[in-house]
Amino acid sequence: MTKQEFLDRLKAGLSGLPEADIEEQLRFYSEIIDDRMEDGLSEEESVRQTGNPDEIASKIISETPISRLVKEKVKNRQPMGALAIILLVLGFPLWFPLLITFFSVAFGIFVTIFAILFSLWVTDFAMALSSPGLFVGAIVYFAHANVTQGFLSLGASFAMAGISVLMFFGCKALSRFTIRLLKGSALGIRKLILGREN
């Protein structure tokens, strides 16, 4: 990739951000590529070491505050006509409840995800705790010569220990996955504001 191709792709990836921000970013990367070349690297190699312009653009967008993106979006909007304003006012009883519903549903989904994760962790914790309890129970049963109950309790104790260990790794993986998903959706929301696909 040439330096110009790199800068063009970065610029395309940043479209929707404030113009001044884009210019500053492009100058920053352009300077670094120039300096790499001055250091004796080929243009191709200088660009390669600087990184993938699409990934860099995504990273820049994900670090830009949402308020800044919205402000830029609103600034670039055409001024509203009289008809649009009248419709907006008349439609208020319709769109306002819809807006509230949208945010409520989004909030509900967040709460549900965390509630599920939380309950899984609690279940795992409870099973881990029940294992030593059942073990003590087994000893008590054996001491009272109640062999059948004793073995049942002992078996349940081992089973709980095993399941809780397995579940611990399951919960951990699921929690990690959820956090990654939420981070991904944070980038997705920003791209949605910028009016971009994917």
Partner: protein, 105 residues
């Protein structure tokens, strides 16, 4: 390394890289290379943060027919490095406590 810890360290590293003389983007990355890994996009964010915190100033100067941005440390930036050194003494005290426990096992 822990992300939060690295973020704090990187700020000080960038300040240290411009402490003795003004420096520019590529040189900062190259100077820090042997010590800590730093991507261009991360450096950009750090430079912006340090600039708005008043710890460094930026000037553009012509170099070889093109413009290059040079970063200059301010008194507040120098102070930040001194604070870091002080903090580090405390951290080392905690570190010696933590590792002492391990040694007894």
């Amino acid at each position: 390394m822990d992300i939060q810890l690295k973020r704090g360290l990187l700020d000080v590293c960038v300040l240290a890289a411009i402490k003795d003389e003004d420096s520019y983007g590529y040189k900062i990355i190259k100077d820090l290379g042997p010590y800590i890994q730093l991507s261009e996009s991360t450096l950009y964010t750090i430079l912006k943060r340090l600039e708005s915190a008043g710890m460094l100033t930026v000037r553009s100067a012509e170099h070889d027919g093109r413009l290059r941005k040079y970063y200059h440390i301010t008194d507040a930036g120098l102070m930040r490095i001194e604070d870091f050194k002080e903090d580090w003494k405390e951290i080392m005290t905690v570190y010696s406590f933590v590792t002492k426990e391990e040694g007894n096992d």
